[in-house]
Structures are given as C-alpha cells and as structure tokens.
C-alpha cells in the first residue's frame, strides 16, 4: 500500500484526459446516485461517481480502469465540491486505481489467514508469470497488487481479479484461472475447491454436529 501514489500531473496527462466526461450510460447512473441523497448533499455520491468514472475509463481502455487527475477534477466539479476532498476519498480506498492498470488487476490478499493458508505461494506464482507488484505486465494484461483482508478468510487464500473473487487457491488452481482469463474465457468465480460451493465446511462437520439434523441446545453442555 505504501507505494500508492497519484499519477503525476503532466501536460501529456492533461492532453489525454482533459476533456473527459461521463458518457450517457454512466451519466445516467451518476445522476441516479446523486438522486439518492437530499438536494444539496450531492457530495455524498462521491464514492459512486469515482467508481463510475473508473469503470467508464476501464471500458474505454479495456482495463480495470483508473482515475487520472483531470478525471478526479471532473468529478469534483460535477459534485460542486473542493477537489482536495475528492482526492482524499480517491486515495483512501484501494478500490480506486490511481495509476493505469492492466486488463486484469490481480489483488492478492496477504493478511494473516491467507498467509497461513499459503498466500506466499500464490504471490510467487503470480510473479513467476511475469507480474511485478504495482506494475502492468509487458503484455498489458496483468497488474499485481498485494492487498489487506478481503473478508474471504474461510476460503483462504484468495485473489480478487477485477470484480470477482477466486478462493481456495493453490498455485495450480490460480494458474488455471489466469490462463482462462488470458484466453478470454470466464472462469468459475468463488471457491476453486472441487465439490465446495461457497464457504461451507470442507468434508464432514467437526463442530456443532448435533445441529445438522435439527436445532440443538448446547447451553447445558458448556
């Protein structure tokens, strides 16, 4: 996270993104987001609008999308709020990319449960495919980021790639997912453990076994 930074302001950046605006489809969503709040409280929609801007840029650039400074300024103007307040929001949340990313943004969770379940191997597998932390790979396909807990501890280790989670990973399973994405396919999201559906226990229950058939009051046994 420490290497998070804004893409420097430059004449090239201004030339590329200076005239950027929502297209009608995203503008409709932006208006809907603003309409959720009382009049005069349009600032509350800042997170939604930044997300929409990033997604529109993602569509335009065939990537996950990112937020160049002129686009942040556009959102600030759109919501009639000081641009520094928008930058504060955009830099705070990891879901906003501040620098260009690849087609697939591979976010590897490295927090304790995932680490205990082998996230170091997942990270190594990503690096073995030519990804570097914080960089777009040479083919423009991948960007690798290490992130903090994504809340999938029961199916650790996991990665988030764009809007989807891939859980219960091993290096082989991750490679299968990444290969499928590289081929343009849509691999199964969620857990990659064969036979597992979501985060239900793997194999037989080891606790609360009496609860399987019917409700059971454990309190007397404590």
């Amino acid at each position: 996270m420490a290497d998070r930074h804004l893409e420097p302001d430059s004449p090239e950046l201004r030339a590329r993104w200076g005239g950027w605006a929502f297209n009608p489809a995203w503008e409709a969503k932006a208006k809907a987001a603003i309409a959720r709040y009382p009049a005069g409280r349009q600032r509350s929609a800042v997170m939604a609008l930044l997300d929409y801007a990033q997604r529109q840029i993602g569509e335009e650039t065939q990537t996950q999308g990112w937020l160049p400074i002129p686009v942040i300024e556009y959102v600030a103007q759109y919501l009639d709020m000081p641009v520094i307040r928008v930058v504060e929001v955009a830099t705070f949340y990891m879901m906003y990319n501040l620098v260009p990313v690849g087609r697939y943004h591979v976010q590897v969770c490295g927090t304790t449960p995932c680490m205990l379940r082998g996230s170091d191997d997942i990270m190594a597998a990503c690096k073995a495919r030519g990804m570097h932390l914080g960089h777009v790979s040479d083919d423009g396909l991948w960007t690798l980021t290490e992130v903090e807990c994504m809340g999938n501890c029961a199916s650790a280790p996991m990665v988030q790639i764009n809007d989807d989670n891939y859980e219960d990973l091993t290096p082989e399973r991750l490679n299968a997912v990444l290969d499928a994405l590289a081929r343009g396919e849509t691999p199964k999201t969620g857990t990659q453990e064969p036979g597992r559906h979501t985060v239900e226990p793997v194999g037989a229950l080891s606790t609360l076994t009496a609860m399987v058939g019917e409700n059971h009051d454990y309190r007397g046994e404590w």
């Binding site: 996270m1 420490a2 998070r4 302001d9 400074i69 000081p82 641009v83 520094i84 307040r85 930058v87 504060e88 830099t91 705070f92």
Partner: protein, 673 residues
C-alpha cells in the same frame, strides 16, 4: 448543567461541554494534539484519554465525549497514565528524533507532552516512516516526516479560512497531509496553520533557523497592516524583530493573524530611513539632524503648514503633530490620503459599530464596496462564521472570491440608493441586520445612502433580548491610524483636496505614502517616516522616524477600540521616535507644544480626547438621523495587491514573493539542497 466529579471533586459544567472541557474547568490539564477549541472535534490523536464511569472499562477520548450528569472522571489513575504513555509511544514511533534541528524545538507540544506524559524511552527498533516534503508556498515550510496527523491544518483551512486546499491523502500509516498537487496555500490566513501545528511539520519558512524561542524578547504590540488592530506579540532579539505572532483576543483577532501582519516584519530592516536627508538641487543628500531642522526653520511657515498622516501612525504622533500645527496656528490636518471626504462630524457613522464579535451574530449583511478578504482578512473570517450560522450576505461591488455563500448585486454603487426588494426584505426580516461600507463604497459616496438604508431597517427592528442595543451599521476602514486620526481631527470637509487648495508653505507628511504629492508641488514637504517609499521620494526633507515595533503608541481600530502597543526594539541608525522629532521641530520653529516627555504628551492627548486614555471601545454616541444622499459610480476596490499595501510590506522580500507567486502566479525554482 450536569454535575460530575473530576478526580473526586464535584463540579458543575455548562450543558454541552465535553469531558475535556469539564476537566479543564476542574483545573486538570489534559494533554491533547488534535483538539483545538476553535476547530471541530476530530478525536484522532487519542492523547486526551481519561477514565470515565459509567462507561466501558477502558480509557476514553475526553475531547469527543459529552460531559453528563453523574460522571466520575479520573485523570490521575494508573489506567490514564498507562494510556497516555502508550499513545505517546505510538505517536513517537514514526516521529523523527530531530529536535535539535527542528524550528519547533522549545515551543513544541509534542516535546513538552512527551516530557510530561511519555515513558522516557522507546522500545521501537524497526524502521521509521519517512514522508517527502510537500510544497505549501512561500510562507509554510514543511517537514512532513514529523507530522502526527492531527489534521488541525486541514480543519483550519476548511472551517476557518473557508478555502479547501489542505487535505489528508492516503490512509493509515501512509497518511500524508498536503495541499492539492502541492500548490501553494494561497489565502490570507494561511500561516495560522503554523501556529496550529503541534509539532514541527509546518513551520515558518521566512523564520526558518533564525532563533530559538527562549532567545527572544516578547513584546505586546498592535498590528498596523490593516484597521483590525490585531493583537500581536513581537518577538525580537537584539535590535531586530524576528517574527510576529498573534495574541489571543476574542474581541479582535481571536487567535489568528493575517499573513501580511505576520510576515511583513522582514521589511522592517530593508529600505529604512536611518538618517535625515535633504533635497539639494533636486537630489536627496544625507544630512545631520541640525541641518535638517535648520532647513525647515528657514521656510518660516507660520500658519501656512499642513499635516497629512499615513496609515500606520499611532495616536501620540498624530497628537504631537496636531499640537505643533496648533501652536503655529494651523488646523490643516488630514489622514485620508487617497482623497476620501466623507462627513466626520458624527464618528458613530464611520465606525464598525456592531464590533467584530457582533458581526458574527448578524443574520443579514449587506457589504457595500469592500473586498473584505483583502481589506480585513480577520473580519472575513468573522463573516464566514456569520454565514455558516445562516446569515444572508449581499455584496455591492465587483465580484471577488468569497469564502462564504454571498450574492453579488452588481458593480454599480447606485444599487445602494434603492436596494433590490430581496435585499430589503432580508434586512427587514433580520433580527440583527448589518451594513458594512468599505473604502470602495466611501469613495463613491455610499455612506449617506447606506446610513439612510440602515436607519430605515433599524427603525423597523423589533427589539427583543436578542438584539437589545444592536447597532449594525459598520464602516470597514483599511488604515490602522484612521479612527485615531478622526478622533484627533485629522479630517477636512473636502478631504485632502482642502490641504492642496490651501497651498501650505510646509507640508508635514507623517509616513504618508499613498498621497498624490503632485498637488503639493509648491510646498516644502517634510517626511517623517521610516521607509524610503513614495512619501520619501517626494520629500524635500526626510526626518527618519520609527516603525510600529519601535515606539509605544495608542491605536484605535475600525471598531473604535483603543489599544496600547509597547516598544519592542530601537529604531535603526539616527532614526528617532516620531513624537521626539515633532517636539524638536517645535523648537526649530520656535513654538511651544506644551509637553516634554512621552508621559506629558500622552497626558495632553488624553486631556484633549479622553477616550484615548481608556482601553476598549470608545463611545461615539448614536448614529446620525435624517441623513440622505445618493451614490453613483462603479465601485473600484482600493487594494490592488493584498501583500503590498504599506511601505513595510512593500520593502519585505517575503511579501514581494507572496505577491509574485500567489497573486501573479510566477514560479520560483527551489534552491538545490
């Protein structure tokens, strides 16, 4: 009024107080970094932890906890001590140990509080965080590694200054305080964040590495850069004023100070007049005091003498000059250098009657021809408070960037003759309506129609407890000497044009640098002042005087508030205190002015104008009634450059750079280090 116990002592605190305030009322010191009584509560430094019962069995942040009935607060328990030690240790994890090279050293909250509440030693062995320096303009020097993320600067710029330009970017340990894209902070109160910063992250750039606080002599003074009369502390070492800081005075400047008042001090050592000069064959040549006085005596002005006062002169100087002219039989006194000629027979009509603290409570404000942000930045902060409380603000005059919601009605002053219905309705509906006439409005004759409008509004006022004694008619002057000058009779019916028309043999210029001296081409001009500015260029004889830090004096601000300033340092070279020059001039012109000491002068002045002897608001009586008049013309604001309004500021390198960089958008390359 909840009753609660602090360390076993029962006290009663006002409703709405926080636990921190309750502890303060009980006389207990609570360490804090992020909490500041004039800013919103952030609660992010955690230094103010106390133990509160009833409540969860853990320390609580007292700054953000409302005091309530029956609380038992401990500030001296083992839990509190451990909590403070823990917080301090966390704060110091990433704080560099660079106190020996830090400008905040000696007046640093973190330093003081770590001595008082810290463990004494660190258990941290890992790497410390480092943050790159952020550019914040010519006044604020940043060392962001020292930042403890209290966000006082962010809250100040958002809440008090009303210019959102400082923000906290990124998150957690990586939080960085910065201006947007490292643009210079560019509002008139920006340097106050230096005072607010509890550590050495934001320090004064012009004062960098100049002195340690314990080396400085601290003198209580009054600021003269505008007519607000901000209370200042002049920090000097030897003969040099090194910096100026605000003093707390809730009635005047709260605890803020404009950038100009704070940073024009380096102008006090440049372009100074440190010896008398005489004009010989069209050229100024250095002279002695005796030669200068002899040259003036040779003019033999008798009653053909006039005096024009500059914007930064104290009342004692004004009175000494008045006494001198009186002894010679003249009363040609004028202080309004740029030609204003509003009526001054009733000073209540040209005073800021609502007071600065009062204007905060106004609920409808009409500003006529005043660029308040530049003419009185501290009043602008008050107007912002009023607007935040819901006051409607209307402005007649060219648009400027307000820091609060305001409606611009147009540039033509004629609007005041018959204000739009919307404005009239707002003023009539208000419980505390106010009108502020500025210099731009006075120049176009807006005083009379504004008075007429206000008296109409005032007579319609329903007097309740809320507005008992309310007088919302205000004139916002720009010169520190203005109200004092008017009280001492520095006003002619036709303004300074009367002086020109009288064709005096001798014109005494008391630091008057904004006068058009072309009107006095036939007069011998004697300039008593401290800077080689416009007045000195036009002068035939220059008598070097003292700047505001070099003499004791009485100043009256635009509210009519009489305030005393003390002398901090001696004037450079042969320069003397202004009153002594005028006293010696009386001898040279062979007249008697009736005082031989500063005390004698002050006594004579107080005998003539008793109000000048009492600190506080002077009483000018009631507003005149039955005033009418019309104003015409397009308003032009008198200040063209906020940073260069007086000779001291014009001589100051800091102010010149501010002007170039912040107003004229020049860029300065940073020196390589």
């Amino acid at each position: 009024m909840p009753k609660l116990k602090v360390d076993g002592v029962e006290i009663e605190v006002p409703a709405g107080a926080t636990v921190l305030q309750a502890c303060e009322l009980a006389g207990k010191e609570i360490p804090r970094f992020c909490y500041h009584e004039r800013l919103s509560i952030a609660g992010n430094c955690r230094m103010c932890l106390v133990e509160v019962k009833p409540g969860p069995p853990k320390p609580q942040a007292s700054c953000a906890l409302p005091a309530s009935e029956g609380q038992e607060i401990r500030t001296d328990s083992e839990m509190v001590k451990k909590a403070r030690e823990g917080v301090m240790e966390f704060l110091l994890i990433n704080h560099p140990l660079d106190c020996p090279i830090c400008d905040q050293g000696g007046e640093c909250d973190l330093q003081d509080q770590s001595v008082a509440y810290g463990r004494g030693a660190s258990r941290y062995h890992e790497n410390k965080r480092a943050v790159t320096e952020k550019y914040m303009g010519p006044l604020i020097k940043t060392v962001m590694t020292r930042c403890i993320h209290c966000t006082r600067c962010v809250r100040f710029s958002e809440e008090i200054a009303g210019v959102d330009e400082i923000g906290a970017l990124y998150r957690g340990e990586d939080t960085q305080i910065t201006t947007y894209l490292e643009h210079a902070a560019s509002h008139e109160l920006s340097a106050n964040v230096i005072d607010l910063c509890p550590v050495g992250a934001l320090t004064s750039r012009p004062y960098a590495f100049e002195a340690r606080p314990w080396e400085l002599k601290k003198t209580l003074g009054i600021d003269v850069s505008d007519a607000v009369g901000a209370n200042i502390r002049i920090d000097s070492r030897g003969r040099e004023v090194l910096r100026i800081l605000p003093r707390v005075n809730d009635d005047v400047n709260e605890e803020w100070l404009s950038d100009k008042a704070r940073y024009q001090v380096d102008g006090l050592t440049r372009r100074r007049l440190d010896r008398p000069w005489l004009r010989k064959n069209g050229k100024l040549v250095a002279a002695t005091w005796d030669e200068a006085f002899a040259a003036i005596a040779k003019v033999k002005p008798a009653a053909s003498i006039a005096a024009v006062a500059g914007d930064m002169v104290d009342c004692e100087t004004l009175f000494a000059a008045k006494a001198l002219l009186g002894a010679l039989g003249s009363n040609l006194l004028e202080g309004r250098q740029t030609g204003l000629k509003y009526a001054t027979d009733n000073l209540a009509a040209v005073n800021f009657n609502s007071t600065f603290a009062g204007i905060e409570t106004a609920d409808a404000i009409l500003i006529v021809g005043s660029h308040v942000r530049w003419e009185a930045p501290l009043v602008n902060a008050r107007l912002r408070k009023a607007a935040k409380r819901g006051a409607k603000v209307f402005i007649i005059g060219p648009a400027w960037e307000t820091t609060f919601p305001a409606t611009f009605l147009g540039e033509d002053v004629g609007i005041i003759n018959a204000v739009p219905d919307e404005v009239r309705a707002a003023l009539l509906a208000a419980k505390r309506p106010a009108v502020i006439v500025g210099g731009g409005g006075l120049a176009k004759g807006a005083l009379e129609p504004a008075l007429a409008l206000y008296s109409e509004v005032h007579s319609a006022l329903v007097i309740t407890d809320e507005n008992e004694g309310w007088n919302g008619f205000n004139v916002l002057h720009m010169a520190a000497s203005r109200m004092g000058g008017l009280m001492l009779g520095y006003a002619q019916g036709g303004g300074i044009a009367d002086l020109g028309a009288a064709k005096p043999k001798l014109l005494l210029s008391l630091g008057a640098d904004e006068v058009d001296y072309a009107a006095f081409a036939d007069s011998i001009i004697v300039y008593v002042g401290h800077h080689g500015d416009k007045g000195a260029h036009a002068a035939d004889v220059i008598l070097p005087g003292s700047a505001y830090t070099e003499k004791a004096g009485t100043y009256v601000n635009t509210e009519g508030r009489v305030q005393f300033a003390e002398k901090a340092v001696f004037a450079p070279g042969d320069a003397r205190e202004d009153w002594t020059i005028l006293r010696a001039l009386a001898d040279a012109l062979k007249v008697s002015v009736g005082f031989d000491s500063f005390e004698g002068l002050r006594a004579a002045m107080i005998a003539a104008v008793p109000a000048l002897g009492i600190e506080g608001l002077a009483d000018y009586g009631a507003l005149p009634t039955g005033v009418s008049g019309t104003a015409a013309g397009v308003i032009a604001y008198p200040i063209k450059d906020f940073y260069l309004t007086n000779p001291i500021a014009r001589a100051s390198e800091t102010m010149q750079r501010c002007s170039a960089e912040l107003l004229h958008c020049e860029t300065f390359a940073e020196a390589a280090e």
